[in-house]
């Protein structure tokens, strides 16, 4: 019985040699398998991870849109603040007196009564502070910053004078 079985196996191997060489190679190599403890759960987790990665990528698109919108709003805000600066610095200031405001104590006021009919208000006769014009959009960013710093210094100096 055993001898017969051996024969049959040999025949099969020989047949395979002649017909499918590739298949034979695969059969010769031992195929090791690993049994996963919970294949359904692994498959489920894998698919869910994939789904979440895709959702993540969709979120990136949304994030980019938000950022673009934010940049546009920043630009708009910058324009609005510049317009405000022009309104306050150029137009409104035109109506208000220039020069340093000198603090007048009530005692001094009694000593030197102010003539209310006089058109000129009692401001210091010194040279008016040099307030530079608002920066033009063509100027580079550094010049703008320098001008703004200069304006800030002037304003602080005037405020100190008032105090």
């Amino acid at each position: 019985m055993v001898a017969k079985k051996k024969k049959t196996t040999r025949k099969r191997v020989a047949k395979q040699h002649t017909s499918h060489k590739n298949v034979e190679k695969k059969e010769i190599e031992p195929a090791y398998m690993v049994q996963l403890s919970d294949p359904k759960l692994v498959r489920k987790d894998l698919l869910e991870s994939l789904r979440e990665v895709i959702i993540f990528m969709q979120g990136y698109e949304k994030f980019r849109r938000i950022q673009e919108e934010k940049i546009a709003l920043f630009t708009q805000l910058r324009v609005e603040v510049k317009q405000l600066s022009i309104l306050v610095n150029d137009k409104l200031r035109k109506y208000l007196p220039k020069g340093k405001l000198r603090a007048v104590s009530p005692q001094k006021k009694e000593e030197e009564p102010y003539d209310s009919h006089d058109e000129q208000p009692p401001f210091a006769t010194g040279a008016p502070p040099s307030v530079s014009a608002p920066p033009s959009p063509q100027e580079p960013e550094e010049d703008n910053l320098a001008q703004l710093e200069g304006q800030l210094r002037d304003i602080e100096r005037q405020l100190q004078g008032i105090r």
């Binding site: 690993v34 049994q35 996963l36 403890s37 919970d38 759960l41 692994v42 987790d45 894998l46 869910e48 991870s49 979440e52 990665v53 959702i55 993540f56 979120g59 949304k62 994030f63 938000i66 950022q67 919108e69 934010k70 709003l73 920043f74 708009q76 805000l77 609005e80 603040v81 317009q83 405000l84 309104l87 306050v88 137009k91 409104l92 109506y95 208000l96 007196p97 405001l101 000198r102 603090a103 007048v104 208000p121 008032i162």
Partner: protein, 72 residues
Amino acid sequence: MPVFVKIDEYDDVLSLLRMVRAKMEEAKETLAKIHDLKNEEDHQLEVWQNTLVEVEKKIDFIDHSLNEPEHF
């Protein structure tokens, strides 16, 4: 210390102040929109953080399953 403004320019000053106020409102609205967008951005970042944590957990489980197969 009083500040004097010519009466003929007083109306101009008032209208100018109205313009300034309107512009201020516009700037405030824009800033509020930026704030909303920032909140939206923060929310999105939080969602991303949670997603990454979830994915990491799942990958850990898969890794664990592959590295420690069932024994016979």
